[in-house]
Structure formats: C-alpha cells, structure tokens
Amino acid sequence: MKISLDWIQNYIDVDLPVSRLVEVLDNIGLLIEDWEEKNGDIILDVETYANRPDTLGHMGIARELAAALGLALKEQRLPLTETNENISDLIDVQIWDEDLCPRYCGMIVKNIKIGPSPEWLIKKIEAMELNPINNVVDVTNYVLFATAQPIHAFDLDKIAGRKIIIRRAKQGEKLLSLEAKDVDLTSEMLVIADEEKPVALAGVIGGENTAVSDSSQNVFIESAHFDPVSVRKTSKATGIQTDAAYRFERGADVSFPPKAARMAASLFSQFGGKVCKGIVDVYPKPRKIKTVMLRDHRVTSLLGVEIDNGFIEKTLADLGFQMENKQPGIWQVKIPHFRIDIEREADLVEEIARFYGYEKIPIQLPPLRSLEPILDPKKERIQTLRQLLFHYGFDEVVNFSFMDPEKEKKFTSDLDPIPIRNPISTKAAFLRTTLLGGLLENVAWNTNRGAEGVHIFEIGNIFHMDNETYNEHLRLSMVMTGSVGERHWKEKSKEGSFFHLKGTCEALMAQLRYGSFSFQEENHPHYQEGCSLVLHFKGEEIGCLGAVDQKILDAYLLKQEVWAAEINLSLLFEKQAQAFQFSAVVKYPSVNRDVSFVADNNVAFEKIREALEKLHLPYLEKFTLYDRFAGSSIPQDKVSLSFRFIFRRPDRTLQADEVDVFQEKIIDTLKARFHFQLREGGEN
C-alpha cells in the first residue's frame, strides 16, 4: 500500500530522514518495498499483511510509527456546517440481513457544489495513484486511504422512496455498476437497495443509477460494516476487485463508521455543503470489546528473553490496548476493534516482540535432546539410485508434474489421469501419468540445441485416479539417444542402445539387491512393437523398457531412435531386498574354457541360457557370452557366438580331463537342442 509522508504528518509530527523511517517501519514488520520522491512528497510502498487491515490507511500506519518512535497522535477536528433539517426526516435505513451487515451509518450533506477538488486533495489522490474525479468522489477515496474505512456517496435525490434497505439480492436482480457493467446478482450477495432496486453491491461497488454526477446537489454518505466472508465471496463471484472490497474482506473496524461519515461530511462542508442534523446509525447488536489474558512468564517462555513489565504496558497502551493489571505479571488486555488480528496471548506476545525488536532477542541453539530419528529407507534408496545413474553417465532432470492432455492421449495406458480444475494453461491441465513425456520434451529441447546425445533420468511422482481416490506413485524413468560423452582419440564413442539401457536396469536392480528379477518380451503401448521388455520381480510387473513408439516420438517431433525405461519405485520399494551376505573366496584356481559356435541367428539367448542352466553342471561357476557377430566369414542367417565357461571346485584344483567332460556335455547339448556347430579358429 502506498503511504504519503506528507499525509502521515496530519496525524503525527515526524521529522526523520527517510532511511531512518524505512528502518523503523521494517523493524516493526511494515516492510518498505520501495520508496520515491514525488511532487515534494515521499511515497512509501508498504507491504501489508492479510491479518492487518488496520494498516491499510494512513492513520493505522501513523499509529504504528507513533508507538515505535514514542510520538503522540494528533487530535482530529472535524467541524461541520449544519442545516436545520434532520436526517431522520430525509431517509429511512433498514438492515434486513444483519448477519451480513452488523452496522450501517449514514449522513446527508445538501447543496454541495460538485466540482474539481482543491489542490491539496488532488495531490493526496494522485499520491495514491488514482485519478481525481470530482470533490465528492475524491473525498470518499480520501477517507478510505486515511482511515481504511471504505465509504460511499449516493446522490440522495436518485434514491427511490428515500429508503435504504440492506438485504440479500433476489435471484435474477441486476445492478448496473459504476464500471458500467451489468452485474447478475444472486441471493447470496448483499446489496444496498432503495424502495425499487439494488443501488450498490454492499462493500464492493456502487451503482451507476445513484452515482453522484456533476448535476448532483445532495449526497447520502454511507459508512458501514459488512461481513468479510460475504464481501469476499461477492467480489470473487463477480470478479470485481475494489479498494473497498479489499478492506472489508480483511475486516474493518466496527467502531469506526460514524467517525468516517463525519470526516466525509466535514470535508463536504468545505465545498459549501450543509450537513443535516444527526447521523443514521443502525447497529442492532453492538459488539463487545474482546479481552485477552497476558502473562509475563509466557512472554519470556515464548521469546526466550525477559522483557520489562513497564515496557510491555507502555507498548501495548501506545498501540491502543487497555491494560488491566489483575495480579503481578498478569494483565487483562482489552483489544480495540481495529485490531481484529489479536485474539490470543501469542498475538500480544508478537506485538511486544515487534516493538522490543527482533534483533534484540538472543541467538541460541535449542537444547540438545536426543530423540528417535524418523527413518526413511525410500530416501536412502533414491540416493543410491541417483549416485549409480550419475556413475553410468545419466544427467538428472526435473520436469513439471503437469501434462498436456493432447500429448497424454498418445501414451495409451490404463491409468486415469487427474485433471486440474484451474490449470495455469490448457497445456498443463492434467497431472502426468508418465515421466516419459517430460523426458522426451527434454530430448527434443537438447537435440534442437545441438546435443549429440541425451542420456537423462528423472525420479518423481506420477498421478492417477481410481474412482474418487487420487494416487501418486514414485517412478524412475531413463531415456537415451545418441552418444554419451565426447569423442576421444583412444576410445570408441559409446552409443546409446537398447542393451546399454537394459544393462543399466540390470545393474540398478542388482545394486538395490533385487537380484531375482526377470525380463519378458512383451509389447507395451509406449514402445515399438517387438521392441520392448517388461521387467518382473516376484511375479509383479515393475517396469518396462524399449524403443519409444513412433507415434509418441512424432508428438515430440523427434526423428531419431530413443530408448526409454520406466520403473515403478513405489511398488519395487515395497518388496523385500535381499540381505547382503559375504561368501568365502575359493582359493583353488578356475579352469576356463572358451568355446565358439556357429548358430542360427533366430535362437533366443534366453533359451540357450535356460538350456545351460538346466544342465546343472557341477562346478560351472558362470558363463558369459563374450562375442557375437555375423558377417562375411559366417554363413547367411547364422551368427557366431563365443562363450567363456568358468569352472571351479571349492575343495581342490579341477583336472583338465574332468573339465573336458563338462565341456563335451555343453557342446553336445547345444548341438542337439539348437543345431549349433563348433566354429574352428576358436575365439577370433
């Protein structure tokens, strides 16, 4: 909120350099975001809080400054020029819905000469960054920015039946607002009506039909108190945001309306207006003053410092609180109506702390108490995964959790996406059901900027709904395309490939000690047909990997081959990992045999592996496929496969002839099952 220092001088005499004032206000929690010199005045931009509507006017700011600087507030004199007419003869005010309008005050000023405001008023209005309109409108704005109490001026002669009724609108009623817009009213909105029709939207905006114009002479000043929630709902429903609504929805001072009306009337007197005798003040249930107990030991135990009782009493008194000392160190504090934020002892402690100075409160570490740590094994596993993925050359990305519904459609899945009711854009209207979309976006972004390879991963939640429940699950997704790292004179560049990614998945599963996983060839809607594997663990599907489907790639305008994998970490982490177990190192040497075969190229490696495992050869420690190639030296439709078999006995060195027997068995089996032929020339 803008605060003019000239204006502040109306209420206190303060003569300090701006920098000092800024510091004082900052320290009591009225942060000065910026300030500027304007027409010989200093305009401060004060950050105000939703719970402090009393600071939304110059008087409130002056009150805070006075308390901080030990200054006295000046008395305000509001002289009136009166007529002999009585207000009660001229207008009848009735509150029909007092739940939404606890208090309604009015005054009438006759024979005002409507015209431009005097210089001093124009300056104040301009300081608030408003355009001066005429002396009546400017006065209503002046009162609002002076006192934080919004008021409204009606053309008295346009009020039908000389009746003001504060009531809920009838369904279907309309109001032509001051913004010259037709507002459709509902029965939840409070209006000010005359005998015939609504003339204002209570606390939000006035109506065009009863507005003060150049030809107006007689003005009815409204100064009322409206229910904050009702004003807020009406403002939200109509989309009309005004300085008045901003203050009412935060809570105005219920004791203030008569004073604000008089302030306006006093100013109208200056423009030749004659004020009718009396004031309308409909206040069916006057509010009681709140009382809060304050104990000095609570001040100490919350702030961690002892504050002198004299200081406590003086500070609160300066702020307008009335203190009654019940017994030593205990007060009953009466809360003025303008401090709607003060309800509990802690609120008063904050007031004391603000003026004592946060900077004077000591700096201490909390006492060390041992407490039971809350363990999060999930977090530790995520850290393990991240470290491994960095090690394997994947960069980490974080994408927004939103998804474009158009793109979502391309990812056929059985997950029901969650729509956001008020998304920031139509392209972010769903919560993501897969991490893949974001990662492909990243591939496109980086490829378009010249990246030769993109190897990235993301760990984050995906979202979906089941009937009325909203679920989130932690996923890991990896994507790779192109080469990893730079080319180098001594190394071949490492191209991303399906097997690179498969190996990464295998390594991650092994490192997390989920060793007993398996892959199955299965089609998955995210991947090209015949080009994907599903990862199973203990009979459950926990992930998949493959070559990303062409129509998905098309949606991201990607031309190159992209490999991707997605693992459901929520599901995986529920599973028991194998305990780590040490096994003794066998001291006898192994006997290794390298055997090369020529095989039909349509024999699945998985079948070969199964066949070899079924042999249950004793002492076969492990075997690896260390070479696989096809080409000129190999017949068409055939492939060369080279295996290394490693044999070892735990209790003695194996003899060559013993191993020969095993080797023969292997060769015979593969020949019989798969028509393998031994390839001469060994392991070349």
Binding site: A428, A656, V659
Partner: protein, 344 residues
Amino acid sequence: MENLKIEIQNKRKAFENALAKVKDKHSLQDIRNEYLSRQRGIITGIFEQLKHVKPDEKPEIGKLINDFKKHVQERVQALQEKFAAPKKALEKVDLTLPGEKKYWGAPHPILLFQQKIENIFLRMGFSIVDGPEIETDYYNFGALNFPPHHPARDDWDTLYITDDVLLRTHTSPVQIRVMEKRKPPIRIINPGKVYRKEAPDPTHLPMFYQVEGLVVDLGITFAHLKGTLEYFLKTLFHEKIKIRFRPSFFPFTEPSAEVDIECTVCGGKSEDCRVCGGGGWIEILGSGMVDPQVLKNVNIDPEKYSGFAFGLGVDRTAMFAYQIPDMRYFYENDLRFIRQFSLK
C-alpha cells in the same frame, strides 16, 4: 620296472602330443596342472610308483622320472614365455595427448542444493520426512489456521483438483501429519515439490521446491528459532553473512518472522541491484513460533509445548547462491545448464 619305463615313455609322448595342441595360456595352464600338480599331477603319480621298484633299480628310474619332470618344466616354461605378452621397451609416446575423458552424470541443481540444505539440518539432529503432493484442504490450510474464505489464502494461489483436493502449496501439511502421529520432541525438515497457480516468469513458477522445518519440544523459544536459522544460513552461505529477522505474518505462526540476508551481490550498495532491487536485503526464509491453534489442532497442549517452524524456497535460494537470473532455467533441463553442476 620295465612297465614303469614304458609308462614314462608313453606319458612323455602324450605330453608332447598335448603340448602340440596348446594354443593359449589357458590350455597350457591346464597341461601344467595335469602333469606338475603336486598332489594329483601325473609326475607325482609316477613318483608314487617308485616305492615299488627294487632298491638297486631306484637310481636309474629316479633319474628317468626326474629327467621327465625337468623336461616338462622346461617345455612349459618355454611356452609360457612364448605366450606371455612380449615385453617391449616402452615406445616413446606423446605424453601431451589428452587423457581418457571420464564422464559422469550431473545432478539436477535444485536437488543438489536441497541436499546441501538437508545435510546441515541432519547434523543438527533433524529427521527428513516426506509426504503426498496431492493434499486436502484441511492439511494444506485448515489445520494450519487458515480460516475458510480468508484473504490470507490469496498469498498461496492454489491449483485445485476438487473443492477439497488440491496440489499442496507448501510442505507444511507434512508437519501436521507428523504431529498427528508423534508426540514431542519433534525435529524434522520436509523437502519437496509444491505447487502454485502462477504463470511462469523469471521469479515465479507453478511448481518449485521447498524445505520446511519444525521443532516442537518443552521450552522452545524464539531465541532458539534465531539460533537455528543463523547457524543454518551461516553454514549455507558463509560465517560472516549479515542476517535480519523482521516481523511478518503467516497464519500458522505467531509471532512470525521473515528472515533476510544481506545482498552479497551488491553488498547493499547499488541502488538498482538486479538481485536485491537496491534494498540491500534478500528475503530468504519465512518462520515463526508455531501458532497455538495449530498445536491444538494436532492435540499438542500449547501451554506445555512450544515450537518453531520455518520454510524456504530451494529454487529461490539456489538462484541467489549461484547467481542464476531466471528460475525457468531449472525446468528447461538444458544439459548445457545442468551439466555445469556435475562440478559442484
């Protein structure tokens, strides 16, 4: 005896035949083991038979066996040398050629920075607790003392799924969930993604990271809040950084404090500093003593226990720490940006 002689001769022939087939180290090793193994080797087997030979014939046979053993050893040794990689003198190479490029992935800067923050609090005995990103109005607002329809909610612009279900606007709901389950002492931090209905610009995004913290115990004071956050900020930035606590407002704390640090970019000296806007201070943390109503909402007696809470935006703090001018860089995931953080 003659039999033994013949056997030695046969074994010798067999050895020669086997050796002729040897093509590599491994098969040579197999033969070596077959003949020379101390326990089960063929030569050990022949020596065993020596005890059945008549004493006067022993020397002759013994010599034969020893010759055979020596022969085997020599032949194996010779072949071993042949198969061993030839040891050439080191070729003169250009040692100024670049070393092999080692490649490792980079962490996302936000998560890297979040971890830095977490590590400081872990040292102070805080536990890290996580919670759902989809929340209910009660956990995100109600339990945290936001009255329904209060304008305070405007400062937490919310993305809604239904009237009651929303994307959490801060990680404070996790604190409520922990306090519902555990009695004090409580000392936790809650890092995570939060969401706001904000159009992306250099300093606002619809999703960002926060780390919030909570301490509830007997005798916790505002002085402890100051001590904890001073220690945190001095560790995160540097020992001498200037810190300011000033009154503020949050529905869930009372008294509330905003924590500013001095602008290290301009040192508070530049009127139009891009980072602090000339004010000399950067808002870095929101904090305060836990509001008594919040404690009541989770059945903790505010007359007995007190606590403090705080929260900071990880993105915002990282922007300041690394001098990153635009928050959107974090979520573009441009690898030229991200990979810089592999060096942090």
